[in-house]
Amino acid sequence: MTPLEFLSIAAAVFAILMCGTGLLRFNLFLYSLQTFSIALATIAQSQQAKEPELYFVAIAIIVVKALAVPYFLSWISNRIDARSDPGILIPIPITMHAAIVLLGISYPLAKSLPHILWLSDSTVGATVAISLLFTGTLFMLTRRNALSQIIGFLTLENGIYLVAVTCTRGMPFIFEMGSLLDVLVAVMIAGLFVFRIKKSFEHIDVTQLDGLKES
């Protein structure tokens, strides 16, 4: 098992664990860990692929996505006094089990991707990336808290990033940085809107945002 594989699997496990709890703080913490693992995986990849610029990307990820974003979100959750997310549709523990099942499904899916997409040892990386996509999706679909949705979205984003890292031979640097900046701004704006929602509706339960619909 290469370090890349190990770190990827760690990221997937953190993401799955994240599904298992409704506590926002804990979610954020796990998300942070997951992003850390991905950043480290990036470094591992950069060593393997001899692409020094990935170091910068990794550092940027650690600073922005693993530290700043979780900190910002937890600050918001403190400010608006949102501690936990009861979830909808299915109970939280079952979400976690579903995420595990999805991880299992991800492997054959990753295998079935066109061969070009994975480098010599990145089947595991691709599996984890797909699993992160699934987990993020699942998270967004089963949580009712606006902050949770942001976390879900970030997890999804991580999955996409992992695809970029593991399945291609280096995306252009400027593109990586640009997308990172976009994510940062998106989270900032989303955070602002969460404040607004709290202020206008006195809750941040997105299931209750259903005033606009057909008849």
Binding site: I88, T137, M140, L141, V206, T207, L209, E214
Partner: protein
């Protein structure tokens, strides 16, 4: 005559190009005649609608409407046609809605817009189909063969909607009555003929004919004729009555076009010629006399502010000239010789009649026999319908007090009506000449065999001596009237209408529009959903009723059992559909993922 616009004016795929051949010229002539009459009529007619109708709105739309029709008649390619077709439809819809505050007008406009849009869509599909076969937008290049038949049928259905053919006529009795009278005259007189014109141009002029289209046209035409006249008969609103009568006439015209197509297909040159001329002539005639009737109704409307026959009666004394014009129009609509309506109806009969005379076997003989019987029946019904329309509104005693203040229409309105009256009479009297002229048109476009033409000319001349007939009839009537009745006018005693000795015959005791048509309506009760409700009140209700109330109710079978269910199911479908947009962000996200999975699955399969 061809005209193509210089380059900058272009409709995307085809240039604006126009052409004028004798066929178009005839319809243009009709359009111009009716336009002239309507234009003379309109200013003083609009006076009674001041405050309801915005003059500039009316005139702008009117001009657009007329220009639209003119250009449709002249257009040489499908795109030009469709563009002006739509302008024509929309401006006429705007005119139907010209009384902004009337709810009936809203409803009529929306039904009309819906119908006309569906017509346009069918035309669009048909035209595109044609184009994909012939790679040309020019009508001249479009043939009628087995390959283009589906396209032709689609176009035909579109035209049928616009023409107001059963079962697509639903919009017509809503829209025509709601429009101001000059507009109704144009809509009923010309606009629906434009559809017939298009049918002739697209299906008859290629010359090859088609049995399928022919059967379609004959069936739909005859059914709409029957349906239209039956509904016309039971109407109590004059304009609705006229509108339904348009359905009847347009049905007859379409049936004639159908025979023409059939005859072309089977090579019966003479029958093709007869029925072509019949369709053309009846289009023109109906255009003129129906416009006349609508204008006269407009004159009543402007004098009385009502077109409901229950408020009319005895108008002939107040409005003698208008009533004269209406009488001539009504007589022409009943195809009474020697008026123009008869001449064209006669040709339609001849078209059907010649088939069994010249052809053996095949279903067409049966169809033509049934059609002749039906035509006669329709004639009888039309007679009942128009005698009712004329007599109930113009004769008898006034049914409402407003009639006592009614005045004859203004000179300009009368000029419009009387000039159309004159045309109707003249076209009847000169019908042999007109018919041979129309047959020349057919010849010039299609070049059928010489024999057919000459035989035709020989056969029309002696059979339709309408001019001598009219002269003899007038002379005889004058002589008899003078010798028997006129001399005795001095001894004439006026007294009240006989009232069985009860005394005091109220105007309300006269026959009403409903009661006059009751006995026929009961025959057609199933398709009319005709029902009568009696309410008799008083102590001894049977022998000494204090009050009797009779209400008749009709509703269209088509509307209640076909159109409403369709519309409701679309609404229901849309209702179910809009549940997709339930406001839940989770649901929306789910759609995204489901779509993703669906696309990926599809992608993996292909």
């Amino acid at each position: 005559m061809h005209f193509s616009a210089p380059y900058p004016i272009y409709f995307g795929v085809a240039p604006l190009s126009l052409f004028l051949d004798p066929l178009a010229a005839i319809f243009v002539l009709l359009l111009l005649t009716v336009t002239m009459a309507s234009a003379i009529f309109a200013p003083s007619y609009l006076r009674h609608l001041t405050g309801k109708i915005n003059q500039s709105y009316f005139w702008i739309n009117m001009i657009l409407f007329i220009v639209g029709m003119l250009m449709v008649l002249l257009s040489a390619n499908a795109v030009t046609f469709l563009v002006f077709w739509e302008i024509m439809s929309l401006s006429s819809a705007a005119l139907v809605a010209s009384d902004f505050s009337s709810h009936k007008a809203h409803k009529a406009t929306i039904i009309y817009l819906g119908a006309t849009r569906i017509a346009t869509s069918l035309l669009a599909i048909g035209f595109l189909w044609y184009y994909s076969i012939f790679s040309s937008w020019n009508f001249v290049d479009w043939k009628l063969n087995s390959e283009s038949l589906p396209a032709a049928i689609l176009v035909a259905l579109g035209l049928c909607i616009k023409a107001g053919i059963w079962p697509f006529h639903i919009w017509l009795p809503y829209a025509h009555p709601q429009a101001p009278a000059p507009v109704s005259a144009l809509m009923s007189g010309v606009m629906i003929k434009v559809a017939i014109y298009a049918a002739i141009r697209l299906f008859v002029l290629p010359g090859s004919g088609s049995e399928e289209l022919a059967y379609l046209f004959i069936a739909l035409g005859m059914i709409s004729a029957l349906w239209g006249i039956v509904f016309a008969l039971i109407q109590t609103d004059l304009k609705r009555l006229l509108a339904y009568s348009s359905v009847e006439n347009i049905g007859l015209i379409l049936a004639s076009v159908g025979i023409c197509l059939w005859a072309q297909k089977t090579g019966m040159k003479e029958i093709a010629l007869i029925s072509f001329v019949a369709a053309l002539f009846h289009s023109i005639n109906h255009g003129i006399f129906k416009s006349l009737l609508f204008l006269s109704t407009g004159a009543i409307d402007s004098a009385m502010h009502s077109r409901e026959m229950k408020n009319l009666g005895g108008l002939s004394k107040k409005m003698p000239w208008t009533s004269f014009a209406f009488l001539v129009g009504a007589a022409s609509a009943c195809a009474l010789p020697p008026l123009s309506g008869f001449a064209s109806k006669w040709l339609i009969y001849q078209g059907f009649f010649t088939i069994p005379c010249q052809w053996h076997g095949k279903a067409m003989i049966g169809i033509s026999l049934v059609s002749i019987g039906l035509l006669a029946f329709l004639g009888g019904l039309a007679l009942a319908c128009f005698t009712k329309a004329f007599a109930i509104s113009f004769l008898g005693r006034p049914r409402s007090a407003a009639i006592n203040h009614a005045k004859e229409a203004s000179p300009s309105m009368l000029i419009a009506q009387l000039s159309l009256t004159l045309i109707t009479v003249l076209m009847g009297l000169l019908s042999p000449q007109i018919i041979s002229f129309f047959s020349l048109v057919y010849q010039s476009i299609l070049v059928p065999e010489e024999a057919a033409i000459s035989g035709f000319a020989k056969f029309v001349g002696p059979s339709l001596p309408l001019l001598p007939l009219a002269i003899v009839l007038t002379l005889l009537t004058c002589i008899i009237y003078y010798s028997v009745l006129f001399r005795k006018r001095k001894q004439l005693k006026l007294s009240m209408t006989w009232e069985c000795g009860y005394g005091g015959l109220e105007p309300t005791m006269q026959a009403t529009a409903g009661s006059f048509s009751h006995s026929i309506a009961t025959i057609f009760a199933p398709i009319l959903h005709y029902s009568t409700r009696f309410q008799i009140s008083g102590k001894d209700r049977r022998h000494f009723p204090e009050q009797i109330q009779v209400e008749t109710e009709i509703s269209s079978l088509l509307e209640s059992s076909i159109y409403s269910p369709i519309i409701n199911s679309v609404r229901l479908l849309s209702g179910h559909f809009s549940k997709l947009q339930a406001g839940s962000i989770h649901l929306y996200l789910l759609y995204v993922f489901i779509t993703l999975i669906a696309l990926l699955t599809l992608g993996a399969k292909s």
